[in-house]
Amino acid sequence: MRVESADVYNSAQIQIRMIVNGQSMEATIEPRELLLDFLRDRLGLTGAKRSCDVQVCGTCTVLMDGRPVSACCTLVYEAQNRELLTIEGLADGDELHPLQQSFVEQSALQCGFCTPGMILTANSLLEEIPNPTRQQIQHYLKGNLCRCTGYWSVLEAVELAARRLQAEGQSEGSA
């Protein structure tokens, strides 16, 4: 059944389902509840951070069906029947994702507040464009602010991860 939006804003509680980091779940939410608060306060997934509150800084970025969204300006309701990936779900157990690994190696972080959002946006970039030019990376990441690094190490880390992911893809393809 489809819930009409007028009903959504009038009803006190809504049942939703979604998949978070590979696990399907159900929850009862309030219509105006923000995805960021839901993830941080209710699921304890505090990797997504709050900074600007106005969809400018990208530090609250999570992936919804693979696309970056600003959780600070997204209602939980919008995640109905969707698949969410937060930074907590990116590594494969103890093994870091190639982007995480390259961020560590290139010291592409300082305070680390922007890092989860930055990595998730970069992840969606590399899925879209596996071998991006530097300009494409700059363009794609312009909605993820970082006050610490000056971005140089971030670009290098994304390039390194792109090379590794491509090499992996090729060796898998030839095998």
Binding site: V56, V104, R147, G150, W152, V154
Partner: protein, 761 residues
């Protein structure tokens, strides 16, 4: 040892930061935690006639509503330099955004709703919302300046208050009038520098839990021990009853230095008798602290051959409604004003001015960022008039190591000529330039180190692993990695066997502060000494165990070696205690008392601020594109070269933002661009085409192995370089930031002047 100093060890906190495991204050959960929200003044200056909190207090979910009447049992004023700030406004508000009440509720939405139910009756007062208004004869007075009380960490001599001036400071050398009489070239100009927002991405966040006669505070603060002292004084508690715990900081840059949201949070928790969290939003962070806007007049005199002889500077800094760190910013600006040259005479008069604007405090490279672009643009103008190359005029006039920088202060401890030459090399100085392209550089000094008071403890546990207890705050600069490396070096122990937890005033010992580029040099010295004590104990135990002289033993890779025989540290500790337990403890301290000489006269060291830039001007739009940015990190000795470079890049990009577009715009005390929608910081698309960073290691710092601090200088060097690069194209500006509109205006003026000068008369 491959993980000691000089090596690019990966950051010890990197893994936790890429997985989302790293804990920041706002990520903490406490049972019974309440959410605090602050009611802030909508007026720049007004009397509070009446506050009625009844409706707010009776809203379901609200636990406490706090106003200044709840503070009658304490002396509610604080401020580390001047005790001018009430914890909540008392009878009067002095800036738009000033807290006057706070609510603690079960959730944030309820707390916010409660704020809207608080009724306040204001009576408008005339306001002084600009420097000009505040300094005028009939200006409304913000404070009774004759009765100002110095704060706990003032330490800057007499306040000399006067009207709305809360602090004045001057330095001088030689006979100024006489020196200017000899000058054959004189450049004189007025300048302005804007208010800037530090934008640490994590806004100030504090949790306080009041427990009878003590309080525990989790805070995003840079200086836990100074916050502890102010809270203890405010709430009349012994210092040991105030426990400050510092999780990871999402950036600091000075915005989290000294006391910010901690007093309100503690007062709210004290009233609610439950733990309370206050998490600022960005618009609140912007009215909590910012960089001083400034007006400056400068006059520089030189001989016809470009020899600099005299400089006179007057500057007025807008510290907002409360002093915060204003006096120190003003004193540091005064120190930076002459620039690192061999003057016959200079004089600087610097004023810290109250206005009805949000308070200003520290921001990376304060003082130097304000002054360096001004001083350096006058040096370049003199070079143009004297027909001397900008690099040559600096080589001709720069101070050499050992020369006096300012009367009574530490002599120069850096090779500035070498640094300038490195910048020039990286810019291909003298090579042909593409059209509409200019090159510029800037050099200056920043008084760094703050007070040299730091202590540290190193514990070596029974398994041979070590814990370094030091209260330096990890805010992104990499201090935990650096401390690990310093300990690794002395202990001959792999990094993965060393742990550096965050600051906790119940556990980690006293450190004055994390700022002024001091941690690696001073807290690092304390860690170095503490590790050395443990090293000495290990050697002594090994000498007993092997029954040989100390000198015959080598410490390597977590073990003591005598020839090819070895005992691990764990075995040595077991040998010593005769038991599978016990630990070795080393302590280290740094104090001016114990280190007369290099520390006795401030600053601890002069941080070098150099930068170079190549810029391209779009003549149609006034837009500047940075083709090359160069920084030189003159650090004595790099503990971790990659971390130094990372600091340089970050500081340079902030310098770029400060120079090109960052500005908090006020109208009658109200911020017009008070969110990130309107206040822009550099993004990936603002990056220069090339960034070059050079490392200089002359082992000339006061820290262990000749280390001295870094990480701020580039922020002062870059705007100076960009301003001079623009002047190299023929466009002189006297106001930052260099918005396209402003540059376009200056360009039109320069062209008009050029046309006038060129037309036959």
């Amino acid at each position: 040892m491959s993980e000691g100093i000089g090596h690019n060890v990966p950051r010890v906190d990197a893994r936790s930061k890429v997985t989302g495991e790293a804990i920041f204050t706002g990520d903490l959960k406490l049972s019974g935690l309440l959410h605090g929200k602050v009611l802030r003044s909508p007026y720049p200056h007004a009397l509070i006639r009446r506050i009625n909190t009844d409706r707010a207090a009776s809203l379901p979910g609200v636990v406490s509503v706090l106003t200044s009447t709840d503070l009658e049992d304490i002396d509610p004023y604080y401020g580390h330099s001047i005790k001018d700030r009430p914890l909540l406004a008392i009878d009067r508000v002095r800036f738009v955004g000033e807290p006057l009440a706070a609510v603690a509720a079960e959730d944030e939405v309820t707390a916010e709703q409660a704020l809207s139910l608080i009724e306040v009756e204001y009576e408008d007062l005339p306001a002084a919302t600009t420097l000009e208004e505040a300094l005028s004869d009939d200006a409304p007075r913000l404070h009774e300046t004759d009765t100002l009380r110095p704060g706990l960490f003032h330490g800057l001599g007499e306040l000399n208050p006067d009207g709305n001036i809360c602090y004045q400071h001057s330095i001088h050398r030689g006979d100024l009038a006489e020196a200017f009489k000899q000058a054959e070239i004189i450049v004189e100009q007025e300048y302005t520098f804007p208010a800037v927002y530090q934008y640490a991405m994590e806004p100030h966040t504090v949790i306080a839990a009041w427990e009878g006669k003590s309080v525990t505070v989790w805070a995003s603060c840079q200086h836990p021990y100074l916050v502890r002292a102010e809270l203890a004084e405010l709430f009349d508690l012994p210092v040991a009853s105030v426990r400050i715990i510092v999780p990871f900081l999402g950036g600091g840059f000075g915005s989290k230095s000294y006391t910010k949201m901690e007093p309100i949070t503690v007062a709210l928790a004290r009233k609610a008798r439950r733990p309370v969290r206050i998490a600022n939003r960005v618009d609140e962070a912007m009215v909590t602290t910012r960089r001083h806007n400034m007006r400056c007049w400068m006059r520089t005199g030189a001989l016809a051959d470009g020899t600099l002889i005299a400089r006179h500077v007057r500057l007025w800094m807008d510290t907002g409604a409360y002093a915060d760190n204003g006096p120190r910013v003003v004193a540091t600006a005064a120190d930076a004003a002459p620039g690192p040259y061999r003057w016959k005479s200079f004089q600087v008069e610097a004023y810290c001015v109250y206005t009805n604007r949000p308070p200003s405090g520290s921001y990376r490279a304060f003082g130097a960022t304000h002054l360096q672009w001004i001083g350096e643009s006058q040096v370049d103008e003199i070079a143009r008039q004297a027909g001397v190359d900008p690099v040559d005029i600096r080589i001709q006039n720069l101070l050499r190591p050992g020369e006096e920088v300012r009367p009574g202060g530490k002599a120069l401890d850096a090779d500035l000529v070498g640094d300038v030459q490195k910048i020039a090399d990286a810019l291909d100085w003298g090579s042909p330039k593409p059209p509409d392209t200019g090159r510029g550089l800037g050099v200056g000094l920043l008084a760094a180190g703050a007070r040299p008071v730091s202590t540290a403890i190193v514990r070596m546990e029974i398994d041979g692993h070590a814990t370094v207890l030091v209260s330096s705050t990890e805010m992104g600069q990499g201090v935990r990695t650096v401390m690990s490396q310093l300990a690794s070096q002395e202990l001959a122990l792999p990094i993965e066997h060393i742990r550096v937890p965050g600051g906790d005033t119940w556990i980690t010992p006293y450190d004055r502060s994390t700022g002024a580029s001091r941690s690696t040099t001073l807290a690092g010295m304390a860690v170095h000494r503490a590790a050395r004590e443990v090293r000495q104990q290990l050697l002594e135990i090994a000498s007993q165990a092997f029954e040989v002289a100390l000198e015959a033993i080598e410490l390597r890779d977590g073990a003591a070696w005598r020839g090819d025989q070895s005992l691990s540290y764990s075995e040595l500790i077991q040998f010593h205690f005769g038991f599978t337990g016990g630990e070795l403890i080393g302590r280290g301290e740094v104090s001016p008392g114990g280190n007369k000489g290099s520390y006795a006269e401030g600053p601890v060291f002069w941080e070098v601020c150099v930068g170079g830039a190549e810029v391209r001007l779009d003549r149609d739009t006034g837009r500047l594109h940075i083709t090359k940015l160069v920084s030189v990190a003159d650090v004595g000795q790099a503990v971790n070269p990659d971390l130094v470079k990372a600091q340089e890049m970050g500081a340079s990009m902030q310098g770029l933002g400060n120079a090109l577009f960052e500005e908090m715009i006020f109208d009658e005390g109200q911020i017009l661009n008070g969110t990130l929608l309107d206040y822009h910081i550099p993004t990936t698309e603002d990056m220069p085409d090339q960034f070059i960073s050079r490392l200089v290691e002359n082992e000339d710092g006061p820290g262990p192995y000749g280390i001295k601090g870094a990480g701020e200088g580039a922020l002062a060097g870059v705007p100076a370089a960009i301003v001079n690069a623009l002047a190299d194209i023929g466009v002189q500006v006297t106001e930052l930031p260099l918005t396209p509109e402003r540059v376009w205006q200056a360009l039109r003026e320069a062209e008009a002047e050029h046309d006038d000068g060129g037309s036959p008369s």
